[in-house]
Amino acid sequence: MRRAVGQFLSVFLSMGALELRVRETLAVMLSLAIIIAVVVAFGVTTVFLDPAGREKLFPAAIWICFILNAAVSLGRSFEYETEHRLLDGLLLAGVAPASIFISKALVNFVVLSVAHLTGVVALGMLLGVSIAAQSTDFIIISVLVVLAYSALATLVAALTTGSRLRNALLPIILLPLVLPLFFCGVELTTQLALGESFSLGGAWGQMLIGLAVLYVGLGALLFESVVRE
């Protein structure tokens, strides 16, 4: 057990250090978060000039920004590892595939969280809407959605890495699978924004928790079949 935790920590730290050194995904994501926020805010302010309309649309807008940004940016997720045969090296060194998966998913989770935060702040400023009053509940929803998304996106990114069309194939495969997460995020954030009673014990909350657990569990179980063929 101690050995497995040690393995996981060293892989996670080295992948995190690699991401910080290369900065490809992070740079692309942060730029896209701001660009998509500007485009969405421009569209929203053109159509809905009244602040009430903007407030109603805000929850959907932040999750649209997040999903689009993440689906486009994570195309490069395994590119560096594949080019330099890092995964083969880790597998040959005896690292468990589940450890590699969880490490990579956590690195993606951190990067996606930073991008999501940037998108929310940018959109909030551009639309003049704030959910600071419900920030704790919003953070809980965001953590669950981003965690489930990171796990699924890491698995699907590994599936599409060897394809010629990987940058196009990743969003095509990923988006239909993450749409239920998107619905959960939008519904729960709308409940928050409209000041309705919020609870993760409701139908949407239960579905979100269930999906987060399923995607992380399935990813850890199936990752070996993706990389060891």
Binding site: T160, S163, L177, L179
Partner: protein, 234 residues
């Protein structure tokens, strides 16, 4: 006639028999849907789409179950036959999902006055349709060396969509949705409606499994032909 020829002839006989049974079942179901049941009191003749719509949805779920079973079996054994079955079920599932979407739209237009309504059941089924499409696209454009394993992994993940579709009806209260819960709320009160629904669903499920079998057989033969031509080239 040697043993292989005898087996082939017996297999072809079984296939023709299965085709005849499926055709008879479909004809019987069609008779019930168009002649056997009376017009529904409120919706009139358009309600007859219900039998194909719900039956195709259940047949579509059977395709997902086949994809899941084939994917798990492939991951456990690495036998190519399971991958072929999974591929066939994904293609047939896409066809049935398309039938469900189109028949739903044709039914919704006169009854709800709209082709599509943004609510959990319809959206989640649209997701299922897109998931089938992505399974086929991954097979066509994915990493060619690892296609069977990758498609098996995606097949397992894709199966999560079905419980979401089934559960989706509970995400909003019934008054906030247009999609009815006819079967769940025991809306089929007439015996003839229940019988027509049962026989149509059964016929469509049999038809679905027959199509999966035929498509899998074509896939298996094409793999054998490829292997034989590769051997000949060597």
């Amino acid at each position: 006639m040697n043993q292989i020829e005898k087996t082939k002839t017996r297999l072809m006989g079984l296939e023709y028999a299965a085709l005849a049974v499926v055709a008879l079942l479909m004809a019987y179901a069609l008779w019930w849907v168009f002649i056997g049941v009376p017009n529904e009191r409120v919706m009139g003749p358009v309600q007859r789409i219900f039998y194909f719509h719900v039956g195709s949805a259940i047949a579509c779920y059977c395709s997902v179950a086949t994809v899941l079973a084939g994917s798990l079996a492939f991951l456990a054994t690495r036998k190519r036959i399971f991958d072929v079955a999974s591929e066939a079920a994904a293609e047939v599932g896409l066809v049935f999902a398309t039938v469900v979407m189109l028949s739903g739209m044709i039914w919704a237009r006169p009854i709800w006055n709209t082709w599509f309504h943004w609510e959990p059941r319809l959206l989640s089924f649209l997701c299922l349709w897109l998931v089938f499409l992505s399974l086929i696209l991954l097979r066509r454009f994915g990493d060619q060396e690892r296609t069977p394993a990758h498609c098996a992994v995606l097949g397992v993940v894709a199966a999560i969509t079905v419980p979401i579709v089934v559960y989706s009806i509970q995400l909003l209260p019934q008054f906030a949705q247009l999609h009815p819960q006819v079967v769940g709320r025991r809306g089929l009160r007439e015996d003839s409606f229940r019988w027509a629904f049962g026989i149509t669903t059964f016929a469509l499920i049999c038809f679905q499994f027959f199509l999966v079998y035929v498509r899998a057989r074509i896939g298996w033969v094409s793999i054998r032909v490829k292997m034989a031509s590769n051997d000949a080239m060597v």
